[in-house]
């Protein structure tokens, strides 16, 4: 009886303490993350930063037609190209690097540390550094001219055909260490006997990677694909630092978040014409793309996970 009373009183204390302990985290998280994410303002008209009246889906339909339509489809296309570029350049090359390091074993920690280092740097620093290196008169131009691979002034960032590709490559340079580390962790979980058996059957390294390692790396690939998807569709920093918030030249590197930023906060700094209703509609749409895309990807890779 006394024991029972003691447990209930302990439980009551625990309930009270739990509320007190959770409250600070919940308050900060709820106020600054959950509350602002209620994007219901997208259904209203706005005058500056003041909400006016209910507008139904008017903001959304404005998003897809002139003059917003061209910007939206342009930015969407750049984000999609960026995603596939990263999948090949970063997650594809990263797999090759991780596999080579796994086969060699020796020195893996050193290479991993070097490859991962750019990933702890701010994308602002990475963007600024490459902007200096790739500038007309910069060192890359000098090196390419010296090697006879190129002549005259190097304008890859000012050329609308090459600028987006350069930014994707720099983003891949920035994050290459991430796939290397995640694949390596995945490869280490595969039992060595599997590879021994394949070797005895005469499988070469390339075949082992394709036929044995890759199917077993599905969870790693799933994590990377999902992360790359989320990061690509949030891409902002590198574009802003290297090409400005307009995604120069002539919107060739514009992304959905730089477009969102211009609609919400104006062109340069805090000046320029904003359209909050349109910004919130774009934000809501992007939120849906990201949530649905992430869920679909997680399910897709979950189904393809092979157990040994």
């Amino acid at each position: 009886m006394t024991k029972l009373r003691r447990t209930t009183s302990l439980q009551r204390t625990q309930q009270r303490m739990a509320v007190l302990f959770i409250l600070p985290a919940l308050a900060v998280y709820g106020l600054f993350v959950l509350y602002p994410l209620s994007l219901w303002g997208s259904f209203f008209t706005w005058k500056g930063l003041r909400m006016q009246e209910f507008a139904g889906l008017a903001n959304f339909s404005r998003l897809f037609v002139f003059p917003s339509g061209a910007r939206l489809y342009g930015a969407l296309w750049h984000n999609i190209a960026w995603f596939f570029g990263i999948m090949v350049l970063q997650n594809g090359l990263g797999l090759l690097f991780a596999w080579l390091l796994f086969l060699r074993g020796r020195g893996a920690a050193f290479f991993q540390s070097v490859f991962f280092f750019p990933a702890v740097l701010s994308p602002v620093i990475v963007g600024a550094l490459w902007r200096l290196l790739l500038a007309p008169g910069g060192i890359v131009e000098w090196a390419l001219n010296g090697l006879g691979l190129h002549q005259g002034s190097l304008t890859v960032l000012g050329n609308s055909h090459t600028a987006l590709g350069m930014l994707i490559a720099i983003d891949a340079w920035n994050w290459m260490g991430l796939p290397v580390l995640i694949y390596t962790a995945g490869l280490r979980q595969i039992s060595p006997q599997v590879f021994e058996a394949a070797k005895l059957d005469g499988a070469g390294n390339a075949r082992m990677l394709y036929a044995i390692a890759l199917p077993l790396l599905m969870p790693a690939l799933g994590t990377l694909t999902t992360l790359s998807f989320i990061n690509t569709f949030n891409q902002f920093d590198i574009v802003y630092v290297m090409q400005g918030v307009q995604g120069n030249p002539s919107y060739a590197t514009d992304t959905l978040v730089t477009y969102f930023y211009r609609l919400a906060f104006g062109a340069e700094g805090a000046v320029g014409i904003t359209d909050i209703g349109l910004a919130l509609a774009l934000g809501t749409m992007l939120f849906l793309i990201l949530s649905i895309g992430t869920l679909l990807m997680l399910r897709f890779f979950d189904k393809r996970t092979v157990e040994l």
Partner: protein, 284 residues
């Protein structure tokens, strides 16, 4: 098998490994070369950067660093970044550990739901909420304020921190806090003096990844900070790149200064960082 035939076998094997090593070394160069150029250019005048592209500087003059620190006032931004990063790390650890403790160790009946609410925040694209966040910050008087940045960063990092703390605390033996409770220790004391010291690896994971994320972030200072007095390092750098376009030595030196704290941390903690990322991919 004779020694010569062993050697004959070993050489083709080494040759077969050559392309692989070449690929790895090419990427190592691709990473290190830009960083090397950054490091040597910090000590060169702009004219020297043009004349002597790859070589070591004529003198190891700290001129560019001094000008970046004082004339461009990067020193001020550096202190702001330190305050914001330190504040966000401490606040995140304290409130997340407090929340994770009852959620992982009490039988409340609502642990699962509450934990789920926190975890749902790990993947939320918070940038898309920046309009609502901006109006909220304005009405709270938190624009142009380092406190405002600390609160926003903590809010963003709390989900990941609660997740890590809850995972580590869940596996601690229950006798641990029960014994202390019998001795009459308060719950606050149990958390901070018994449980938290037992999950030091979790504290360091949360501290490292929160510090990196906050130190590097550029988006929130860009929308919340207008006064030069409160600008953080990445925001200042984004301005320098345009403002001091022709003064390459100064920009290179600013980049070096702003990555210095992260570089030092990385050299000291490379193994923990590698393992933390490999295990969870819990970055970005």
């Amino acid at each position: 098998m004779s020694a010569t035939s062993l050697q004959a076998l070993a050489i083709p094997q080494k040759l077969a490994r050559l392309p692989g090593w070449t690929i790895l070394l090419v990427w190592t160069a691709a990473v290190l070369l830009p960083l090397y150029i950054l490091a040597v250019s910090c000590f060169k005048t702009t004219a020297e950067i043009y004349d002597n592209r790859l070589g070591l500087p004529q003198s190891w003059a700290l001129d560019n660093f001094v000008r970046a620190w004082t004339r461009a006032d990067l020193g001020h931004n550096f202190i702001n970044s330190l305050i914001v990063t330190g504040g966000a790390v401490v606040l995140t650890i304290v409130v997340s550990a407090m929340a994770a403790y009852p959620l992982s160790r009490y039988k409340l009946g609502w642990n699962g739901i509450m934990l789920g609410l926190f975890l749902s925040g790990i993947m939320l694209p918070i940038r898309l909420a920046s309009v609502e966040l901006f109006t909220l910050m304005r009405s709270l008087g938190l624009l142009d304020s380092l406190t405002g940045l600390i609160l926003v960063y903590s809010a963003i990092r709390i989900p990941f921190a609660v997740f890590i703390f809850a995972n580590f605390m869940r596996v601690l033996l229950s006798e641990l806090d029960e014994a202390a409770r019998m001795d009459g220790a308060s719950e606050t004391r149990i958390l901070f003096q018994i449980v938290l010291p037992m999950v030091k690896p979790a504290v360091s994971i949360v501290a490292i990844f929160t510090a990196i994320a906050v130190w590097n972030d550029f988006f929130f200072p860009l929308i919340f900070i207008f006064d030069d007095r409160y600008k953080t390092v990445p925001l200042a750098i984004s301005v320098f790149v345009g403002q001091f376009r022709t003064d390459w030595g100064l920009v290179f030196a600013s980049l070096a200064i702003s990555m210095a704290p992260i570089l030092i941390m990385y050299c000291l903690l490379a193994r923990q960082i590698r393992e933390g990322v490999g295990a969870g991919g819990g970055m970005k």
